[in-house]
């Protein structure tokens, strides 16, 4: 192992990243787009989760208080009321799940339509029925209790998932895809003709990409924090250690993807094949609580699951490093396995 060679490769890779204006620009722009996306998603209007269609009403002239629908429905949070001029237009939207339930705006007995295949429609139908019952009836039957402890906002729970997802995509595409391209174009073959070893080359790629990932994640964090004032319950140093371990693990997975092959199209497909299950099973967007045991078992073999679990414990629950030592150990073991496989199977040439 020669540190001079590794340093030269590390510097060269960083130059490549910074001077490729399109790629560099995208890597800087992408986090800001995520921040902007957060802004839209969590603006007051777009937090309305359910869509209730009403016809016949001219959209430009709609006044919600004048609609002939149950009064309680007009004031519910998370329900957006959408007007349609004709039943035909409204029905088309309902059939395509663009709205979740459809009500007729008339003085007659309330008519509604709902798709049997729509989960949101199913819930809205219950809400509709509930809306015609007086609150007094509930008051005598049920009682709302207070939650003990601080409630975690959804955005605080989601934020680590978004950061983890960004790191996953950057690791796999930024390392896996790039190395395959270098192999196809002969750059790796030229390096093989020198004393550089596979370990030196892969280590330089790993360190360069991890550095870029941490810098990018810092920008996203800083930008999002300015906009949404995140609640950080743990230590920033502990969060940094977990981000470092997670980034190393995902980059090492990228090295496994890149160890063979010269087809960028195949690599693209393979990376997507890895990314999509991780995105859905590692609790980026939603919890797997209540999912079938085999789904939860599959999730446990994915590095992103352990990465996000540790990050959320620190950010949301204020855990210390000792509390997430199992997750960090798993990430380290996985990194070692991925790096070993990547180095052993690595091929310089086609």
């Amino acid at each position: 192992m020669n540190f001079k060679r590794m340093w030269a490769l590390f510097v060269a890779r960083n130059y490549e990243f910074i001077r490729d204006r399109a790629g560099f620009g995208w890597n800087i722009l992408f986090p800001f787009l995520i921040v902007a996306g957060f802004g839209v998603i969590f603006s007051s209007d777009s937090r309305q989760e359910f869509k209730l269609g009403v016809f016949p009403v001219k959209p430009s002239l709609m006044v919600i208080q004048e609609l002939k629908i149950p009064e309680k429905l007009k004031g519910y949070d998370y329900i957006k009321i959408v007007a349609f001029e004709t039943r035909y237009d409204a029905m088309d939207k309902l059939l395509h799940h663009k709205i979740d339930i459809l009500l007729e705006n008339s003085d007659k007995k309330l008519s509604y339509w709902v798709s049997d295949s729509s989960p949101k429609g199913y819930i809205l139908e219950k809400v509709l029925k509930e809306s015609i019952i007086s609150e007094k009836i509930f008051a005598s039957k049920i009682i709302k209790q207070q939650i003990n402890g601080e409630q975690i906002r959804y955005i605080d729970w989601l934020f680590p998932g978004i950061l983890g997802m960004n790191i996953m995509f950057s690791s796999l595409f930024g390392v896996g895809y790039v190395i395959v391209r270098y192999r196809r174009s002969g750059v790796l073959k030229r390096l093989k003709a020198t004393p550089v070893t596979a370990f030196e080359y892969l280590t330089a790629q790993l360190v360069s990409r991890v550095l870029i990932l941490l810098a990018t994640s810092f920008i996203v964090w800083f930008g999002c924090d300015l906009l949404f004032s995140f609640n950080m319950h743990g230590s920033y140093f502990d969060a940094f250690v977990v981000f470092l371990a997670g980034s190393i693990c995902l980059v090492c997975l990228g090295l496994v993807v890149a160890c063979r092959g010269t087809s960028e199209e195949l690599t693209n497909g393979f990376i997507n094949f890895i990314c999509w299950p991780m995105m859905f099973l590692s609790e980026v967007w939603f919890s797997l609580e209540g999912a079938s045991p085999w789904v939860q078992s599959v999730a446990k073999i994915l590095p992103l699951t352990h990465f996000l679990s540790a990050v959320r414990k620190i950010i949301n629950d204020g855990a210390a490093l000792s509390d997430v030592s199992i997750e960090i150990s798993i990430l380290c073991v996985m990194s070692f396995i991925f790096l070993t496989i990547g180095s052993l199977l690595f091929s310089w040439t086609k």
Binding site: V11, Y15, S185, A193, T194
Partner: protein, 246 residues
């Protein structure tokens, strides 16, 4: 088999197949120290496969290669220089940075300034690799091959696609290197290049060496019946035929 100490590199019974198709079929080659050895042959003859096995870029299916009378060890890459036929470089590094990066891979290397002057790269030293012309790129690739002051230099079609001026310049560099005692193995499609540069020529066809000798000896042997066509191209076509190759 005896390994001669006068040869810098020697290949014995070298074989290589790709998906059952034989690319190199039991070649024996010996390259004397300080010589310029030319490997000629039509497309698909097995030249590049042979040279890449000798460079340790690809593994042979069978056969042995000896460098300075011994099996190649980890110092082999420190002592050789290679210019490949098709290769790209890191697009967003400048010419000078590329040379500096590659120089740092070796335990000892020539000053980068010397390579820049030798390969006439001064006017483009601050240009990015993706902004230089084909001829400039070839000169840079040759510069990379010379960086570690190699004892053995492999050049795979070093002047393909170059204009006559650029080609003459590269010939001059190769001759100078050879004069300074460096051993050179080159493949080429240009007969005048082989005739001008090489002490020994091996002509390959269908994975085998069909003839080997000095350019003069080959012409003497094969142009006896047609003195008006006494050139290497006549020898080449006589030995490999005139049918078109893929």
């Amino acid at each position: 088999m005896m390994i001669s100490q006068s040869n810098i590199i020697e290949a014995q019974s070298l074989k290589k197949s790709y998906s059952g198709k034989i690319a190199v079929d039991g070649i024996n080659l010996a390259v004397a120290r300080g010589s310029c050895f030319g490997l000629l042959g039509p497309n698909g003859a097995g030249k590049t496969t042979t040279i890449e096995m000798m460079e340790n870029i690809i593994a042979s299916d069978s056969g042995q290669i000896f460098y300075k009378g011994k099996s190649r060890n980890k110092n082999f890459n420190q002592e050789i220089g290679i210019q490949f036929q098709h290769t790209e470089l890191l697009a967003y590094l400048t010419v000078k940075e590329t040379l500096e990066t590659f120089a740092s891979f070796y335990n000892r290397h020539l000053p980068v300034k010397q390579i820049i002057d030798l390969c006439m790269l001064d006017s483009i030293k601050n240009s990015l690799n993706n902004k230089i012309s084909g001829g400039q790129r070839q000169r840079l690739l040759l510069g990379l091959a010379l960086l570690n002051d190699p004892q053995l230099l492999f050049l795979d079609e070093p002047t393909t696609g170059l204009d006559p001026q650029a080609r003459k310049h590269i010939w001059k560099i190769i001759k100078d290197m050879n004069k300074h005692g460096k051993t050179i193995i080159l493949t080429t499609h240009y007969m005048e290049e082989a005739q001008d540069l090489c002490d020994t020529i091996a002509i390959m066809d269908s994975g085998r060496i069909v003839e080997q000798g000095s350019p003069e000896a080959l012409m003497d042997q094969h142009c006896k019946d047609n003195k008006s066509s006494r050139n290497l191209e006549y020898v080449f076509l006589k030995l490999t035929g005139k049918s078109l190759r893929e």
